[in-house]
Symmetry: C2
Subunit: 432 residues, 2 copies
């Protein structure tokens, strides 16, 4: 199958200016050509994208998709009340059905919003993997493990995390990759984290972990282990493994330096960090240290949406306001955080994240015709339009591995109405 997409404005995200009247040629699952002079030849399908923009699919590097069922539950409460009285009791009732339909609801929202790859950490991960298989989206999955229970339970959970990572790696025609998911330094004792390090060395699977989301947990770490979380994880050898840390809100200069030195990947979650009152991560300092933070939504229970365009916008806005520096994070940088840096964060930068010949054909098409994306004369920067003004409903088409998973704003593989109905039913069942 060879497809020609022509007459588009293309953001390749390789650092070059937007291409005008440009073409993308897709052969099978791969990008064959991107530029302004497409090769002659026969195409199975030719798509005219006049007035439209084509760019890499968005990459959401941290979340808990199934928690989509809890969107708008207990909003605007103090963090501990929200967690202890709302989230945990309800999550304790989650079974396979809740995870399946909560995740499906999340995937519908993500796909329609232009996300082609999401990283997920949760329980009942086989269900999550099956939704990924069915929906056509790409995912980096891990079984999240809280290691505060008895020894035997911990052992089982670790084994389950490893089993999942090995069993599903490369599944769904390679669309699924896996990691190991020790939840956080404050929920996994040091020796248990050490076992994850060993498992990561043995299996080659990277580690996905929460880090320094709140000031409270940093203090707790110092109290319990005599070190701030970054130093703590480094001492345990965890940062020598390929590692993705989520949040990283409360960091000292020295911690940023160490994370940069260890090439640790960061998932910056601006929406969730704001909503929970966790704080504003030091993204400008990370960028200056040479880090390339990616973007995540966290769960819909703490965001309350899974709209990566919104995270891009927040990343481009809040650091300017917070540091009183209008140059803190540019629109281009925010778009890179939502694409290329996302691919790097889940260790897939060789395959996705930019539009280049040889990479996999994960891309999205945005309609630029609406009033909020006008004017489009030469002074009106299209990168700025995407970062500051586009919303998820501007996403028309979404391709993963060269195949359409959303067309004209409708999921091609998932039945959206059914997913919405089943998600509501699955939630209703546990409300009693």
């Amino acid at each position: 199958m060879r497809r020609l997409f022509k007459n588009a404005t293309i953001l390749t995200m390789t650092g070059e200016e937007p291409l005008r009247n440009a073409s993308l040629v897709v052969a099978g699952a791969e990008i064959f050509y991107v530029g302004t002079e497409p090769p002659e030849g026969r195409y199975d399908e030719t798509v005219d994208l006049s007035g439209k923009l084509l760019m890499p699919g968005l990459i959401n590097t941290h979340g808990h998709a199934a928690m989509c069922l809890l969107r708008g539950y207990g909003s605007d409460l103090p963090l501990q009340t929200w967690l202890e009285e709302k989230m945990w009791p309800m999550e304790a009732r989650f079974g396979a059905e809740q995870v399946r339909w909560g995740t499906a609801l999340a995937v519908v929202e993500m796909l329609k919003g232009g996300t082609t790859l999401f990283a997920d950490m949760y329980d009942h991960m086989d269900e999550v993997a099956r939704v990924v298989e069915e929906s056509g989206i790409r995912a980096s999955l891990c079984r999240g493990v809280i290691g505060l229970g008895p020894e035997e339970e911990r052992r089982e959970k670790l084994a389950e995390s490893v089993r999942f990572a090995e069993e599903w790696s490369g599944a769904a025609d390679g669309r699924i990759t896996t990691m190991l998911g020790p939840h956080a330094p404050y929920t996994c004792p040091p020796d248990f984290l050490g076992e994850f390090v060993a498992a990561s060395e043995r299996t080659g699977a990277p580690v996905h972990i929460h880090l320094s989301e709140t000031a409270f947990e940093v203090e707790q770490n110092v109290r319990d282990y005599g070190a701030r979380p970054v130093e703590h994880l480094d001492k345990l050898g965890l940062l020598d493994r390929p590692t993705l840390v989520a949040h990283a809100v409360h960091l000292t200069d020295a911690e940023i330096e160490l994370l940069a030195e260890r090439d640790v990947k960061v998932s910056h979650n601006p929406g969730s960090n704001l909503k929970l009152g966790s704080g504003i991560a030091r993204v400008p300092e990370m960028l200056r240290a040479g880090m390339r933070p990616s973007l995540g939504t966290d769960s819909a229970a703490s965001n309350n949406n899974l709209d990566l365009l919104e995270e891009i916008r927040l990343a481009a806005l809040i650091h300017k306001g917070n540091t009183l520096d209008p140059l803190a994070v540019s629109a281009s940088e925010a778009l890179r955080m939502g694409t290329l840096y996302g691919a790097e964060a889940v260790f897939l930068a060789q395959k996705v994240g930019t539009l280049e010949a040889g990479k996999l054909a994960d891309f999205i098409v945005l309609d630029l015709s609406a009033a909020h994306l006008q004017p489009q004369e030469r002074i009106n920067d299209v990168i700025s339009h995407v970062a500051y003004s586009a919303v998820h409903s501007d996403v028309l088409d979404v391709y993963v591995d060269g195949e359409p998973v959303v067309r004209d704003g409708v999921c091609t593989r998932l039945d959206e109405e059914k997913v919405v109905a089943r998600a509501n039913e699955a939630l209703a069942k546990i409300l009693g």
Copy 2:
């Protein structure tokens, strides 16, 4: 004309819980009834809003609509470079045509996003008023005046500001109200501001002015006039007039107290303040002092959109992150900022801002069916869905004075394609 809207979820914004399976009856331009037991009788039109949400129209209390033409121009530059090298030279080329079509483009975007009332400060205001007349939107307009030129020019501009306020007050069947618009303390010398105070006393027109947007202008005010801007304006008697101040980012506790005491209205512009690196206004402190800050987008040149739902979301998010307090500004409070407090800010709270019998029928209908607004079981708070997850494309219908100005997402009075084309042409003409 009597219209019955039934089976809706209704947010009246009067402080009560969302009404389920509720009805709104509109008689002519007014709300006749809102509640769950609508009066029997004949209706000229009955609209079934099952699965939809009805709430007051959104109110945008600060902006410069015509600058919509400059969306995405010179984004991500230092503030002074952006202003002096980009905005001012281009604005100097604006004539009536640019203001007309820039404003029309802005009004299309605002209406489709659920804004039923906008406050505007600019030049060529007769053109702005004509767009308001034609489009069906409601507006509080003022001719903005920079008083740094020669005496004669200042005198002409003041006269023009007063002429406009008097001539257009109550026009468009009462949809247009007016204010006087001295631009800011740093662009209007004290004696000139005094003349505005006198004009406001004479005409009864309120004052709309920029205040303490940047730390720089506060320092300048102290240097030039020996007082911070709030005290400065108060000494000039300006705060004794009904006054709406835009931005109010850099305020001391004493200034907040004084503004509260004088019942000064504030337009909080989170998107613009973040993007320009101006800072984060002390909204939680304002609320604690009893103030009721409203929301504004500022212009699309510094935002870069006119989406009041986004400002509501930013207001609900950024203060939590900035103060590390998840209770800083609740979803309900942010929605009030975008509706009722907006009506108060433009001195129209007797007429709009909530859904109550006797008020004007300015309201919007949101489609709640999409995945990003699910689930909708009893634990999933709909106020939270609107504040944190809804986007402008969820707005289906918009009514002003009981008449539809947007239906099924399409402007009924303005020809959107024509507006987009003319706006681009008007901009192209001044690019040379």
